[in-house]
Amino acid sequence: MVNRKITKFDLDILGEVGNIGAGNAATALSQILNKKVLLNIPMVKLCKLNEIPDILGGPEELRTGVFFGINQALNGYILFMISDDGAAKIKKAVAGDYEIDSNSVVSEIANIISGAYVGSLAMMINNTIDITPPEVCQDMVGALIDSLIANICSVADKTVIIGTNLVIDEEEISGFYVLLLEKESLDSMLDYFNSINKM
């Protein structure tokens, strides 16, 4: 396979894809919580694998991570990483003062966001995308993401990160919502959008 170079136009496309996905996800979450939800301007970056842990908060920072595998038309991972502080804010926004397990709240919120995000992605590429159930884990950022990055970057040393920030009721939840696609999936998605653009 030819090694496709990511152009500035490609990054713009991915930014727009992220925007639409995030918009749908925010609407879904907002309807369930009955609160104002914003998933603000996505970060779209082509980065080297050794830079990724720093971009996502720092390799040794403690985070709660929720992961989904995606397959079928696109292969890759969705990951949602938030600090303890962010998890507490989400728990408060969802459950108020009720005592519930914060991991399950975070995982459910991530599930709602991912479902809507992937749904809109599938609609845009006019194909089917499957998503696995969430996996939750608390550990250092580096440890949470390195096995996923190993799979994404098994050949290439660079990958595109599409990231989003979550804001509930004007309270910013410090965390990242990131889409990581395998090289072939990324290339085929970009080719598809580029071909539409030429029509």
């Binding site: 694998l49 050794n50 250092m140 799979n151 098994s154 050949v155």
Partner: protein, 163 residues
């Protein structure tokens, strides 16, 4: 003290007595430390994947990224910095399995595959691993003090221990 981060796929060798090499947040990755106690030369590599043979090597290969290339290249760099093979002591940490995403069979047991590949690459060089802390499902930060050769491993919620 001069802390030097060794990120994913990176490699560092030093003989500066003030240097500390750190591989932060190892999950499935493996931090390999080599140290020559006579010449006080230390090196570290942050291995990400087991095997480079499926890769087209014409490109710009990061040797530290793959176990089978990382070990010989690190050894070579150690020797360039004045280390002698028979003095080199090796310690490894990492190779955890953080998640169980059911996807394509054994894709995510990469920690175990990394551990096996690193051990194989080291024995291929006729060297031994003095001590190791691998497997499980916890992240680790591994660091080596170049002045003493002592290697420390730390996990979230646990005391740092000497390896």
């Amino acid at each position: 003290m001069n802390n030097i981060n060794v990120g994913m796929g990176e490699m560092q060798v030093s003989k500066s007595s003030s240097a500390i090499l750190i591989a932060p947040g190892l999950g499935s990755c493996i931090g390999v430390v080599m140290y020559d106690f006579v010449n006080k030369v230390g090196g570290m590599v942050h291995v990400v994947l087991p095997d480079s043979t499926c890769i087209n090597k014409s490109g710009n290969l990061m040797p530290g990224k793959y176990a089978d290339t990382a070990i010989p290249v690190l050894l070579n760099n150690m020797v360039k910095f004045g280390a002698e093979r028979h003095n080199i002591v090796i310690k490894i940490a990492g190779g955890a399995q953080m998640f169980n995403i059911e996807k394509g069979g054994n894709v995510l047991n990469i920690g175990i595959r990394n551990t096996i590949a690193v051990k194989a690459a080291i024995s291929k060089e006729n060297l031994m691993i003095k001590s190791s802390d691998t497997g499980g499902n916890k992240g680790r930060t591994c660091r080596v003090d170049i002045s003493t050769g002592k290697v420390y491993v730390r996990s979230i919620g646990q005391q740092e221990v000497e390896l």
